[in-house]
């Protein structure tokens, strides 16, 4: 697994806030993704009904995940696919490594897949002498930069074109006249195309993820824009698709429903450029397509999540990235401070779920609970509620600072004793109002006011005002 750097969240977030280049890059999120999604949803019409239908599809699957997986496996096997089951990351790496060895694979081209990030597949294949090339433009840049994606859909959202040009200059031997090419985004894309095309043609094995696995037909569905997914799954003689066990859906029509939601929520597109449905290897006598097709089904904590009633809805996720695009925290710090594979609100639920509460103590708290993620989620995952659940579990597991835990206890006790609560509130608000300057407090203990002020209480408590208002209206 990727070294988990979630423990460094606060330190890393502070550095990102002070990085002017990153801030310029992040400023594109609301303009491109948030606006794009809103426009696509509006143009669609009854997007709310579509979300409802999408949620139903995902909940149907989760109600009998074992059954749908078995149906998928039977259908895929009947079409000549070898289906593998991986308990965890190490298991999945071993399976893919063995396929590569058995097929005498020297070179691999990869289509974008967050699950392969989750299992750190590239490093494992490289260790057994296989050359792995990422072919999604963003992932290719990430590979050259030896970084991690900072967004699940737009991996290099944190970089600008000049940084991409620097990497290309360092890795591509080309004659370059002046510096104009560095500003030419279309030219950079063409350069990547020219460098990568021979890799596709020479590769022995293509590795992809799968957005959906279709139980009724045994198909893997892959949603892409660039066409690299099609090349990876058509040209090499072996195709391996790796995905999480939760990605199965019952029918072709269910996949159509989810595609409608996925691309609109991710990039604001009514459909992405290529939606490919792959069912088995090439038939005998066919002139194209892989000779062998493997599908690896990864658990790696997902069955544990299914057993967790409060967090189970997280398995509805179709990986569109809308929650991070709409998150005011993500919009300001980007994806890297979250420290593991999945950033933003979905990552703040997945990371502690997969790696353990203690591995990511800051993530469930890295949210304002403004609710935008839930509003934008195509399958209506109650992310804020789940973050709150994780916070409660942190307290229960004694992962919180003793002062914070005592503060909750004191509050709880006061709230159960109204005769004490009322005078305590009165005294508190009186005291805070006294300390305030211009209605704002700028020096509270605990660090809350380090980067912002705290609005002082209005003087009266809510209850006192409410009673006064009732009296007035009764008059």
């Amino acid at each position: 697994m990727h070294a988990n750097e979630s423990l460094m969240f606060k330190q890393s977030a502070r550095a990102k806030l002070a990085d002017p280049q990153l801030q310029r890059s992040l400023a594109r999120i609301p303009i491109k993704f948030v606006k794009g999604r809103a426009a696509a949803a509006q143009e669609f019409g009854d997007f709310e009904a579509l979300r409802e239908a999408g949620q139903r599809v995902r909940d149907t699957v989760l109600a009998d995940l074992a059954g749908w997986l078995e149906r998928f496996e039977a259908a895929a096997t009947a079409r000549g696919v070898t289906v593998h089951w991986a308990e965890d990351a190490a298991d999945a790496r071993r399976i893919v490594g063995e396929i590569a060895r058995a097929e005498r694979v020297k070179t691999v081209v990869k289509s974008k897949s967050m699950v392969t990030e989750e299992i750190e597949l590239n490093e494992a294949l490289a260790a057994q002498g296989v050359e792995v090339v990422e072919t999604d433009l963003g992932e290719y840049v990430i590979q050259l930069a030896k970084e991690r994606p900072s967004h699940i859909v737009a991996p290099i959202i944190h970089k600008n074109k000049e940084e991409v040009a620097d990497l290309f200059a360092a890795h591509h031997a080309r004659e370059r006249k002046d510096d104009a090419w560095r500003e030419d985004i279309a030219g950079l894309c063409r350069e990547a195309r020219e460098v990568l095309r021979p890799k596709f043609l020479a590769a022995d094995m293509g590795i992809s993820g799968a957005n959906f696995l279709i139980a009724e037909t045994g198909s893997a569905m892959i949603v892409t824009n660039e066409g690299n997914g099609r090349l990876c799954t058509t040209l090499p003689r072996v195709h391996v698709a790796i995905t999480g066990i939760e990605k199965v859906v019952p029918t072709l029509d269910d996949a159509a429903t989810l595609v409608r939601l996925l691309t609109r929520s991710a990039t604001g597109q009514p459909i992405s450029n290529y939606v490919s449905m792959l069912t088995g290897p090439r038939d005998k006598g066919a002139v194209e397509g892989p000779v062998a097709m493997h599908i690896v089904l990864l658990d790696n904590g997902r069955s544990k999540l299914l057993a967790d009633e409060q967090l189970r809805p997280m398995l509805r996720c179709i990986r569109c990235g809308a929650c991070m695009n709409h998150c005011p925290v993500y919009q300001n710090i980007g994806g890297h401070p979250y420290g593991w594979v999945y950033p933003g609100p979905m990552g703040s639920v997945l990371t502690p779920s997969f790696l353990g509460l203690a591995a990511a103590p800051d993530l469930p708290n890295a949210a304002t609970l403004c609710g935008q993620c839930e509003v934008a989620c195509p399958v209506k995952i109650p992310l804020p509620e789940m973050l709150r659940t994780l916070r409660e579990r942190q307290v229960a597991a004694q992962l919180k600072d003793w002062r914070e835990r005592w503060a909750y206890r004191l509050w709880g006790w006061l709230a159960l004793n109204p005769w004490l609560y009322r005078p305590a509130m009165r005294m508190g608000s009186w005291l805070l109002a006294l300390l305030a300057d211009d209605g704002q407090l700028d020096a509270l203990p605990g660090g809350w006011t380090r980067g912002r002020t705290f609005p002082a209480p209005a003087g009266d408590t809510f209850q006192a005002r409410y009673r006064a208002r009732q009296r007035e209206m009764g008059r």
Binding site: R193, N228, T234, N273, S276, E288
Partner: protein, 202 residues
């Protein structure tokens, strides 16, 4: 010793719930009301495909020749064998049998075309190879008016009634390949075609 498969399935089985009632997917505004052909053309244009309408299949070679000329492309292409009988010589167009990385233009038909999104539905087979629409920089597709369906679901329906089961690859193609990875600036022609031109016949 139990296998990973058995262990995973056993864990999942302890957690079965009640499946909620299925809801039919709503579709985009106007799909049922719009004229499917007009909608398909409009949506295809919005995806930055170009399109023209032809009266009959016989006029395809001349239309292709005019398109190649307007884009300063040589009069060479790879096409699906179903179009072999057309009068290519009359349009001075040379054909090659199989697309490779040097092929500039690929001509295909389609299995269906989807009005909701302006999408081509391509089914792979020995006579309808997927690479013809993938390797060349320019993809020209012939769409018969009768192939236009309203939604992806209708396309799947047709698949089930005519082929019975999905072929190795069903590719839904919605315009030229593109990427927005660098600075979220949409750029056409990532790894697939830079141009998609549709010839709507009938």
């Amino acid at each position: 010793m139990s296998t990973a498969r058995e262990r995973i399935l056993a864990r999942l089985r302890t957690q079965s719930g009640n499946a909620p009632a299925h809801l039919a997917s709503p579709i985009a505004n106007g799909v049922m009301e719009d004229d499917p052909i007009a909608r398909f053309m409009a949506r295809a244009n919005a995806l930055q495909s170009t399109a023209e309408r032809l009266a009959s299949l016989d006029t395809v070679p001349l239309a292709v020749a005019a398109y190649l000329q307007s884009h300063k492309l040589p009069r060479q292409l790879v096409c699906w064998p179903q179009y072999d009988p057309l009068d290519w010589a009359g349009a001075s167009i040379v054909r090659a049998p199989v697309a490779d990385s040097h092929t500039l233009v690929g001509l295909t038909g389609c299995f269906a075309a989807i009005a909701e999104t302006g999408t081509l539905m391509l089914c792979s087979s020995a006579t309808t190879p997927a690479i013809t629409s993938l390797l060349p920089e320019t993809h020209i597709a012939v769409v018969m008016a009768s192939q236009i369906v309203r939604t992806m679901e209708e396309g799947f329906q047709r698949l089930q009634t005519t082929l019975g089961r999905p072929p190795r690859a069903v590719n839904f193609v919605s315009g030229p390949s593109r990427t927005g990875d660098i600075e979220q600036t949409m750029t056409l022609g990532a790894h697939g075609p830079y141009r998609v031109h549709l010839l709507l016949v009938g």
